[in-house]
């Protein structure tokens, strides 16, 4: 018990230093910094506006898709539900490139419009940012709302059928109460995610009309090297995300549960032809919206793979190392935190909650804010570029920690409930307990958490952009530099490489937890 607490304390101290430490630095520097200019206010307004629109569109489109998935069975339904989880581990910059291939100036839609004699689309600016955010968050919203639909007991639908309720009555009595409970939390979560999304704004935003706070921080670094201004912006960014996170915690965001999305509810009010056709259309559109951009990455990337310049492969090598080390660090942090929370839970529930909350701190602190603080601290004592990779590893680990804890904590509780007394009676403590009870029983969640962390780190384009130069770029940064230099073919190849590596890393590590897993 005491050793579990000591380990948890160390991990908690590291996480607090990494997330709150930079915030303190940023806040102190911000005081010395200048006031807000018109451009800064515009960035704040744009950040909130695009996040609001992204949340509204994602949720509004997710409701009919979730309803269709909830009440229809068709071949490939399971695959589609699985696919809804994919955008989570697809690197943002890859998805942006896929969206450009479909909706960009020379993309599929523009070509079709051109053939019809119309002007091509432009997806740079507000609508591009919102489009990309909807691409990422529509699947998330669909999964969460689908969960809500499937949580309505099937007996209620049967009861509604025997009472002769039509679709309107069923909606009013069964579905509307569920939506009212679930949707605000989902929208809040997406709003929160979108306030800190940097890579989308970097690639599709920009200019006075489409700059987010995070992008403004980046520009303050890169173009003006005005650390005081960056600190002011970072403080504002933290205030915005902190407020959004507090609001999200208050409206109770539903948790994504992996299981149980594979059993549609039999419905009697929606058997008619029109409802069937509408559901089919929604499912088809959602599948196209997800699949076509990703397919374009594959189609355009394959011919370019062989001719990729060597620095792309060097960047890929660095990225794999960063991803694997980041995944290891997540486990090194998550296990002691979870163990300490578990050990405290019985006797001191308040302390357990505090320990657990430390793991969720990074939700409110965006990578760019942490990066700004670390840069201010490290700039006088070291060359930030040489520390780019270690810092990226640490920050990425902190960002994945909430997901890791969500995966590990419930399983750890179950293991202790089931085998804790036998282990106690045998005197299994400390390392022996970890080695012979906890690790073998937790292989699956640990593998899943590490795989997720590796994939997220592999595709991350955030803090690295502040620190790295072209010599130590990771693959996402390299890809961004190729895009910025209009080297379209190399970018297409690099995007496919990045996508492949992210998926393979997740698959391999997650599978490592399953193969030969304890019975």
């Amino acid at each position: 018990m005491t050793r579990a607490l000591a380990g948890g304390g160390l991990a908690a101290a590291f996480v607090v230093a990494l997330t709150l430490g930079p915030l303190v630095v940023v806040a102190l520097w911000a005081e010395a910094g200048s006031g807000l200019g018109a451009g800064d206010w515009a960035a704040i307004r744009f950040t909130l506006w695009q996040a609001l629109l992204s949340a509204l569109f994602s949720v509004a489109l997710a409701i009919p898709v979730a309803r269709a998935l909830a009440r229809r069975t068709f071949p490939g339904r399971g695959l589609l539900v699985l696919l809804l989880g994919a955008p989570f581990i697809v690197p943002v910059i890859v998805a942006v490139l896929g969206l450009l291939a479909v909706f960009g100036r020379t993309g599929l839609v523009s070509q079709t419009l051109g053939a019809l004699g119309m002007d091509p689309l432009s997806i740079y600016g507000l609508h591009g940012v919102v489009l990309a955010h909807v691409f990422f968050n529509l699947p998330l919203a669909t999964r969460l709302i689908l969960q809500g639909w499937l949580a309505i007991p099937s007996e209620r639908f049967r009861l509604a059928a025997t009472l002769g309720m039509g679709p309107v009555d069923v909606f009013r009595q069964l579905e509307w109460p569920m939506l009212r409970a679930v949707v605000p939390g989902v929208a809040m979560l997406i709003f929160l995610i979108c306030t800190t999304s940097f890579a989308v704004a970097l690639t599709l935003g920009g200019g006075p009309r489409a700059t987010t706070i995070e992008l403004a921080i980046y520009q303050a670094f890169l173009f003006e090297f005005d650390l005081g201004k960056a600190a002011v912006l970072a403080t504002i960014q933290f205030a915005v995300t902190g407020a959004a996170a507090a609001l999200a915690a208050w409206v109770a965001v539903p948790a994504v549960m992996g299981a149980g999305l594979d059993r549609p509810v039999q419905r009697w009010d929606a058997a008619r032809g029109a409802a069937r056709a509408i559901d089919a259309a929604w499912i088809g559109l959602a599948a196209l919206f997800l699949l076509v951009p990703l397919s374009m990455i594959v189609l355009r990337g394959v011919p370019q793979l062989a001719g990729l310049p060597p620095q792309v492969f060097e960047a890929a090598g660095r990225s794999v190392v960063v991803a694997v080390l980041s995944a290891c660090l997540v486990l090194v942090l998550a296990l002691p935190l979870a163990s300490a929370a578990q050990a405290l839970r019985g006797a001191r529930p308040m302390a357990a909650t505090v320990v657990e909350s430390v793991g969720y701190l990074s939700i409110a602190a965006s990578p760019l804010v942490i990066g700004t603080g670390l840069f201010i601290v490290l700039f006088p004592i070291a060359n930030p570029a040489t520390l780019a990779l270690p810092i990226t590893i640490a920050v990425n680990a902190a960002m994945s920690l909430p997901f890791a804890l969500r995966a590990i904590l419930p399983e750890l509780g179950a293991v202790e409930a089931q085998y804790g007394r036998t282990a106690d009676a045998l005197g299994m403590r400390g390392w022996a307990r970890l080695r012979w009870l906890i690790l073998p029983r937790l292989r699956r969640p640990l593998g899943f958490a590490a795989g997720l962390a590796a994939a997220l780190s592999m595709g991350d384009l955030g803090v690295i952009a502040l620190f790295a130069n072209s010599e130590n770029a990771t693959l996402p940064l390299q890809l961004y530099q190729l895009m910025a230099a209009y080297r379209t073919n190399d970018a297409a190849g690099a995007a496919l490489l990045l996508l492949g590596l992210s998926l393979v890393l997740f698959w391999a590590i997650d599978r490592g937890g399953r193969v030969n897993a304890a019975v």
Partner: protein
Amino acid sequence: MLRFDQVMLQQGTHVLAADFAVDEPGITAVVGPSGAGKSTLLSAIAGFLTPAKGRVMWGDLDLNPLGPGERPVSVVFQDNNLFPHLDARRNVALGVAPNLRLSPEDMGRVDAVLDRVGLAGKEARKPAALSGGEQSRVALARVLVRDRPLVLLDEPFAALGPALKAEMLDLARETLAAEGKTVLLVTHDPDDARRVAERTILVAEGRAHPPVQTASLLDNPPPALAAYLT
């Protein structure tokens, strides 16, 4: 000698008083209605429950300050005794060293005990590949290699069929009682007590009574036990 020195146990609103000694080695049964506190009594000996009052003593040793793993006690629970990711040999070896660092001699001892409980040739099987009876044998083997003087059996064979249960009880008596262990066997089947336990502790109406001869207790049950037996 196991002694409850004016012990009060509290679990939620349930209170159980115990003030008696188990003087002789061999199997002593613990019987009583469900929810009367049989498992609570064992939890206090094993170290999962600290008495609200009084002391649990083993000879001159006060058990209260000791953690579950430090007590002169081995426990077999009704389930979850075996770790499903470890084979039979390692599950038993945990009784020798919780970190599974065993000398070759210790390993030999583990195999000898597995042989003695009738599991020769099945040492490398994981629990899922063993029958219910065989799993009980592994748990028993661990108690034997652990070699602590006090053994608590908390309905360990309740999930087995009648014939298999009788076989396991006999095996427990042959091995544990023969080595001079003091064994407390919780059971809700009076026939178990008759079969292997000379003396029986009745737990009923908020009180754990001192051990008495099993036959006389069951033949002339006090009212609390009579209501439960019929």
